[in-house]
């Protein structure tokens, strides 16, 4: 009997999301209901700070002197777990540096990291979280980290969101590809909704992508899968071989690794 495995969506396209933008202290709101806004539209002003929109969309509601509700378009990147409920800020994307040079990257940008949300690479160490916290970083998103690192972030109330899981996991390439395209954009990470929400302009590519018609897909050569087995946990690849006599084992060719690797079913999900 042919094996089918569930398909998960690590990326969702949203064409009607509401994003609330708030002044930190009481001030003046400068937009009105129905007004179209762009990322650099100034929404309001408090004594020391301008509130910029950060998103494309239309103002749906205004709370006098305080906040603006905008209907917008977005891409949601699915997180499997996060250490606290919310973080937002300008997105900085590191190009998956090795552990050794992550710290150098962080220190290089240290003067401007305050309130930024950083995609730091495939994994993050405890030391880096401590450093990021010291520099006033709003939050870190990454492929994976050890439970000890995660527990530290949770205890400190620091936002740490994971795309894959615990341990030496990788960020699925489909997620990294999106992130690397939207660096410097203001993004919103929600632990409650388990996603990183990236505002997009109307009509962005993918907005009309149809939802997957079926949850289950046949496990057969060519199927794109997310590997959930060490040492390739979080890697994306495509099935290259299915042994009909032993359907509990398949060979997956990873996009980041030349040879096929053997993965045990059910330690993989379709993408």
């Amino acid at each position: 009997m042919k094996m089918n495995i569930p398909c998960i969506q690590k990326i969702s396209y949203r064409n009607n999301v509401y994003i609330e933008r708030s002044l930190l202290t009481e001030g003046v709101i400068k937009v009105s209901v129905g007004q179209e806004v762009k990322p650099y539209t100034v929404l309001g002003q408090s004594s020391d700070l301008s509130l910029i929109s950060g998103v494309w969309g239309k103002v749906e509601d205004v709370v006098e002197n305080s906040s603006v509700l905008i209907s917008s378009f977005a891409i949601d990147l699915h997180l499997v777990v996060s250490s606290s409920s919310y973080a937002e800020g300008e997105l900085i994307v590191f190009p998956n540096p090795s552990d050794l040079i992550q710290k150098q990257y962080l220190e290089k940008f240290a003067y401007s990291l305050k309130a930024k949300l950083i995609y730091i690479g495939n994994t993050v160490s405890l030391e880096l979280i401590q450093l990021a916290k010291k520099y006033g970083v709003s939050g870190i998103i990454t492929g994976g980290c050890t439970r000890a690192t995660f527990d530290f972030a949770q205890k400190e109330g620091f936002f740490l969101g994971l795309f894959s899981g615990f341990g030496l996991c990788k960020t699925p390439e489909v997620i990294f590809d999106v992130l690397s395209d939207v660096s410097t954009r203001i993004v919103f990470a929600s632990g409650d909704d388990r996603c990183v929400r990236i505002p997009m302009p109307a009509g962005f590519s993918g907005m009309d992508a149809p939802l997957s018609e079926s949850i289950f897909k046949p496990l057969e050569p060519g199927l794109k899968v997310l590997v959930l087995q060490n040492p390739y946990f979080g890697s994306v690849g495509s099935v290259s071989q299915v042994d009909e006599s032993n359907p509990s084992r398949v060979v997956v060719k990873l996009s980041s690794f030349g040879d096929g690797i053997e993965v045990n079913v059910p330690n993989l999900l379709a993408l």
Partner: protein, 337 residues
């Protein structure tokens, strides 16, 4: 009318299909709905509707024309898109048998306590594996190390005594903790034996496909159908298992053989004397913490087992545990292949 009786669990589902022609199929499926990975784009109702449609299609059945019975810990509304004949919550299913004590083992990973710092943790890497198993219900650790370290910590067991008093030493080990192709058979036996706290000699059978659960569902809700299929159900006989404490000396004499084999079994050990189905042997054992005993046994999938492990066994360091398992598996493989 065809019947699909299903146990919908966490990372483990079993379907017993009666196609209406007296044929019986058992199908295990290792993926379940979890809110972490699916809730942002799919409801549990849609997930299980599609899963049942898939199972029906694979067995050339029309789901609309099939009688569906479900037992699950998940709420009934998860299955509201299906036309259910019977839904039974797991806690209401009667697993008792007339002629054997049933020990049901299940995984306990839905317990979000793993995100509290209250576990006895051998090593960060292993905690990572366990935490990932919480994030993805479908994962089964692929390495022997991770299975050994976590196997015992993440299961719970429930005992259903035999209805006939004289059959209470016959044990059937069953439940989703024992299903899944990634766990070695020996490891499944080892896990199962570890939950027997009573000392003595037992006859052990293993149901590593969760068959007893779905058969019990049919027995409870469709007794007439059960009376037809009941006689066809049998489980793999493992052999005799002696649960005892301390150091043990054991003498084995196989039927039709003059040779006698003598073994010394340590504390916290799991000794297996392989004896094929149909073979017989005479056993004599004595130990510093148990009375001498002498009895005849018949072979099975394992043969004769002496288990001197206590709870302390699982407290030893991870690398020692893994080494022990590797030795046991090597020893068994030499004989059984």
């Amino acid at each position: 009318m065809p019947i699909i009786a299903a146990h919908i669990g966490l990372g483990s589902n079993s379907f017993l299909i009666l196609d209406g022609v007296d044929d019986l199929f058992l199908y295990n499926y290792p993926y379940s709905y979890d809110s972490i990975n699916f809730s942002h784009f799919c409801t549990p109702q849609k997930f299980y509707k599609e899963l049942f449609e898939l199972v029906a299609k694979n067995h050339s059945l029309n789901l609309q024309e099939s009688e569906i019975l479900i037992v699950s810990r998940m709420p009934e509304e998860y299955f509201s898109d299906l036309n259910l004949a019977h839904y039974c919550h797991s806690s209401d299913l009667d697993l008792h048998q007339d002629d054997a004590t049933t020990i049901y083992l299940r995984r306990t990973l839905e317990n979000s306590d793993i995100f509290k710092n209250s576990l006895d943790l051998p090593k960060d890497t292993s905690l990572d594996v366990l935490s990932n198993m919480y994030l993805y219900d479908n994962i089964i650790p692929a390495s022997l190390e991770d299975n050994v370290v976590w196997g015992h910590k993440i299961i719970s067991s429930k005992i259903f005594s035999s209805k006939k008093k004289e059959a209470e030493k016959n044990i059937l080990f069953t439940g989703p903790a024992l299903t899944g192709t990634l766990l070695s058979k020996f490891f499944k036996y080892s896990l199962a034996f570890s939950v027997v706290s009573e000392l003595g000699l037992f006859s052990a059978s293993l149901d590593d496909r969760d068959l007893h659960y779905v058969v019990s569902l049919i027995k409870q809700f469709e007794p007439d159908i059960y009376s037809n299929i009941g006689p066809k159900i049998c489980y793999e006989y493992a052999g005799k298992i002696m649960k005892c404490r301390g150091k043990i000396e054991c003498l084995v004499k196989k039927e039709y053989s003059e040779q006698q084999d003598f073994y010394q079994i340590d504390e916290e050990d799991l000794f297996v004397y392989p004896l094929e189905e149909g073979e017989k042997a005479h056993i004599f054992i004595k130990g510093n913490s148990c009375k001498p005993a002498e009895f005849d046994i018949e072979g099975g999938d394992l043969g004769f087992v002496i288990d001197t492990r206590t709870d302390a066994f699982w407290q030893v360091r991870q690398e020692n545990l893994v080494q022990k398992y590797a030795n046991w598996i090597r020893r068994i493989s030499l004989v059984k292949g």
